[in-house]
Amino acid sequence: MRNSIEHQKNIIDFALSSLLRRKGKNAGLLFVYTLVVFALASVVFFTHSIRKEASIILEGTPEMIVQKIVAGRHDLIPLIYMDRIEKIRGVSSVKGRLWGYYYDPVVGANYTLIVPENFRSGEGNIVIGEGISRTRLAFEGDTLEFRAYSGKIINLKIKNIISSESELLSSDLIMVSENDFRRLFGTPVDYAVDLTLNVRNPRELSTIALKISEILPDTRIILRDEILRTYDSVFNWRGGILIVILSGALLAFIIFAWDKASGLSLDERREIGILKAIGWETSDIILMKFWEGIGISLTSFFSGIMLAYIHVFFTSASLFEPVLKGWSVLYPQFKPIPFIDASQIATLFFLTVVPYTVATVIPSWRAATIDPDSVMR
């Protein structure tokens, strides 16, 4: 046992000497490889964190939402629909919901206005999200001007600012009273934007949904499960930009591995011949090449992972900001929660370390079986 550990260490010694011989080339390789791992790991950590958090916090979303559809567009829903829905067996409660978008020309940002069930801040007052406060430089006690549907200016006073810890949900929210909402948007009193339902038995959801679609054919149903699934696939690799980033990284990778796998240079082959001539076995040669591959890939792997962790969870994925911000003026500042697990690390390991090491070992297999007498010529 002792013998074989020493044996491995001896071989590692030579493998490292071999890598140190071409310092420049290997340093460059290390740098690019680390960058690839960093990019991939950052994407994995960030997207997983958002998805996990979404699955936890959106659990309390309404069980069912009923929207009215007119000419293919989401339209206001008459509150009398509630009476018909209430009569369906299994429905425990149905409520109207008022929410909408307001475009603020002052900064060019979109806000989401919502009327909470119990709005206690009083008429003429609003509670705004931290993102709005930041974008408009508006604080408690300030007044914001809104232009109503009629052209009239409505002033609303900021009573409170929603805690910055919940920016992931509330960054662009404005909580407003029902009267103010209707004044602003002209939503008639007997209409709501949509209806939210709670049912007694969750297993009855699809039956109830079916009934609703029968009695109210101009409606569309959204179930809680569907809302949650929307966020399961957020930042899915199949989505646009992400696949560009990932393909880029993967391509860079394949180029390396290809360079390695396309065979050894004449010099390298001669060296292997020399090693064999002085008594190294085929297995020793392959081991040496393996450790050469591991030397580069493990080092890059660890550095890339650690840098990615710092990037995503300490700087809130700041490098992704320009991509995520897009055209929005109001960009939520939230800190992703480190929902990392061993499977993410394992996946990254198999995607990065294994292919490179394999690509280093395979071509050396053939060369390692060179007859040692080739160096005699």
């Binding site: 979404a54 916090i57 949900l169 509330s170 949904a209 992972i305 897009g326 929005s328």
Partner: protein, 102 residues
């Protein structure tokens, strides 16, 4: 110091750091737990349906509420023009419209 010993200790240190990352993550999750609870309560109380990730278009701000037509409100044949739309795939719900009711 002998090269192989240096390398092996470097690997050992890195493994330790990786472990440290897991420990830190665990601690942070615990300390952030109350914010998660706070957000969860907010969702329930305000009957929210979406995360505030992209505020540039309605169908990226509330993707779970969007339907097949939302992206094309401007024109039936208009192409995707909000950058955030390329980060967000159409939600599964509209890819299988009414699947649950069939």
């Amino acid at each position: 110091m002998r090269k192989s010993n240096l390398f092996l200790s470097y690997i050992a240190v890195n493994l330790l750091l990786l472990l440290l990352i897991f420990v830190h993550a665990s601690f942070k999750r615990n300390s952030d737990q109350r914010f998660v609870i706070e957000k969860r309560a907010m969702v329930k109380q305000l009957r929210l349906t979406d995360l505030c990730l992209f505020t540039d278009a309605s169908y990226t701000r509330h993707p779970s509420q969007a339907d097949l037509h939302t992206a094309f409100h401007d024109h039936p044949a208009s192409l995707e023009h909000f950058p955030s739309g390329s980060l967000l795939a159409p939600p599964p719900v509209i890819r299988r419209v009414n699947e649950k009711l069939d």
